[in-house]
Subunit: 406 residues, 2 copies
Amino acid sequence: MAALKGTMVIGQSGGPTAVINASLAGAVLEAKRHPEIEGIYGALDGILGVIHENMVDLGRERPEVIEGLRSTPSAILASCRYKLAAADYERILAVFRAHNVRYFLYIGGNDSMDTAHRLGRLAAEKKHRLVVMGIPKTVDNDLACTDHCPGYGSAARFTALSVRDAGRDSQAIGSVDSVKIIEIMGRNAGWLTAASALAREDPDDAPHLIYVPERPLNLARLLEDVQRAYDRRHYVVVAVCEGVKDESGNVLAESRLPIDVDAFGQGQRGGAADVLCQLIKSRLGLKARFDKAGTIQRVFMATASPVDVKEAALVGEMAMRHAVAGVTDRMVTLERIADDPYQCTTGLVELAKVANAERLLPDEFLSPSGNDVTAAFTAYARPLLGGPLPPYARLARYPVARRLAD
Amino acid sequence: MAALKGTMVIGQSGGPTAVINASLAGAVLEAKRHPEIEGIYGALDGILGVIHENMVDLGRERPEVIEGLRSTPSAILASCRYKLAAADYERILAVFRAHNVRYFLYIGGNDSMDTAHRLGRLAAEKKHRLVVMGIPKTVDNDLACTDHCPGYGSAARFTALSVRDAGRDSQAIGSVDSVKIIEIMGRNAGWLTAASALAREDPDDAPHLIYVPERPLNLARLLEDVQRAYDRRHYVVVAVCEGVKDESGNVLAESRLPIDVDAFGQGQRGGAADVLCQLIKSRLGLKARFDKAGTIQRVFMATASPVDVKEAALVGEMAMRHAVAGVTDRMVTLERIADDPYQCTTGLVELAKVANAERLLPDEFLSPSGNDVTAAFTAYARPLLGGPLPPYARLARYPVARRLAD
């Protein structure tokens, strides 16, 4: 079957990552290899760029700019969090017809896969031949049907490195700041928070406690955990996911102010670490402070995982390649072949299977204590960091020759 | 004059940095070159390690461990923030006598230089021949009499990189998070906050507003600044120092809870960004969030400045070299020879001149508007980053061929 001739539109959606532009580069470079692709358009602000016909001609960008996207974080086309209304779908189809758009590639999370799926279905109903493909992206690593998500490895590497360093900081200055809480991104899934454990080499290394949304938070037990960890080392580093919930399922810290609720009805999370600091100060009498790198975690390019950058470009490339071959209504997945040495290939899954599904940390990745991860998790996640973390010195701490009698 | 024979004790004090261990490596490696140095002891927990005779024999550590300190962040000997009492000085002298300590090197900020100076004076009074040398260290860059402080360049590089990336994040998702406040360390001096400007290449690049403690914060004007910046770009990135004060000199956010007040009577700063977020939401009706990398800023090793690492080792080495030559009661300084290409050498200054002094951002480094830095500041600070920041792609944004009539 001859490939469909026409314009390709690509958009980026949801929260940015360090590698979402690498996926864009992969798709655009692949598109350029196919003469059937008569135009390569980038939708600005995600799907809103299609609705408002606010698109740019990526085919005319200099090759070095497209190549440069591999090492440029965040979403260069800009992103959105917008829930499509019924009228929007008709409008999008009209724009697609006007520009002879035959390929729509959407880089995003589960909401974006839902959008792409619905668009494909509508186009079929309205007899506009359209290929839709999804390209996975999320630092949260919570998409179903894929071994992991591009964006996660880089955010995980930053998390592992920064918690290691913040842990060394606490070790040095524990006499001043006894408890440090590090708040890590994640709404319902604790994948990124779990990655805080990936730099640990020794049982005394930070983080000493890890709390994820998959396990209800019992505050009394948390205080006991912190006190016990403090008694052992005289400093404690806690990694906590911003989305942690108490035993009644209430999020520990979330703003439901109207201004903070998004198009999908989700409030703004964040503040869990601050809440815990106040609690630890007042209930345990220990000095506490928090670090919350916030959006820096998801886009910090200097420590991006090389594996992640490569895979992000690959899923973009494969989405375009499959699209030209006539595959539609699918998201490209990552399928792991082996942990060590790490090997991975791509696969395909129906968009509808990914849309609005959410993959949480499975039980085997969480310790029974509810405050740590397991060796199975580290075996899964370590290869995604894209290489070993640079080693740090450890003193043997030889005793000095003699002691002054006190 | 023959060099004094005896033991050298070295300690690390105050807040950790990415390169305070590089200074330790520099001093220890230099000490090993001098047969007069009969023992190389590391005081654990700063001066407390001397008081409690809690010291380790660094001379016995394997050479690769000492070398590894150059790439290991935070204070490996552990640090303290402790104000010496009168009795402590006598005790320290007794410990020094017992171990035949003739050299005391202290890596720290102005309080530490004061401690070292007093110890030297006491030893002279009590006829114990002792050489004391200070090695500068602080991410705050607020020590007097030195061009800059080891630790600053690395923290500045992390700040510049992370604000650039967080800015790209905001640019992509400004429709969701209109205002991002990035809280940066600094008590009275805004040097590190100012470094947030160092990655800017374009007037539209983040940060769009910079607030430092050297300029009183007028909240009404800040809200006007934010609204104006938002009107221009539809997203705003603000860098704010945790130590900013209002026009009455009150710190915007500081905890004075007894548990949060340290040995020097200083409360725990932090929270300025949260205060500003609430204000912006309620007064401007704009969505706002904050990033606060906290202690990660000061110790993040993956983006340490190569110039900073080298200079930190150099000041350690020079302190030891001068000490063996009989110089005492001095801190090693950094003296800049040229900006471009950057060249720097070391000098010496009396400890008393540095002790308890504080160098704030001078007027010529701050814009008259009170919300930005000047070109003079970037010329001063850029070389300290230790090399150019990796370039990012910028799209030309070519228009698409035609438009559908609305």
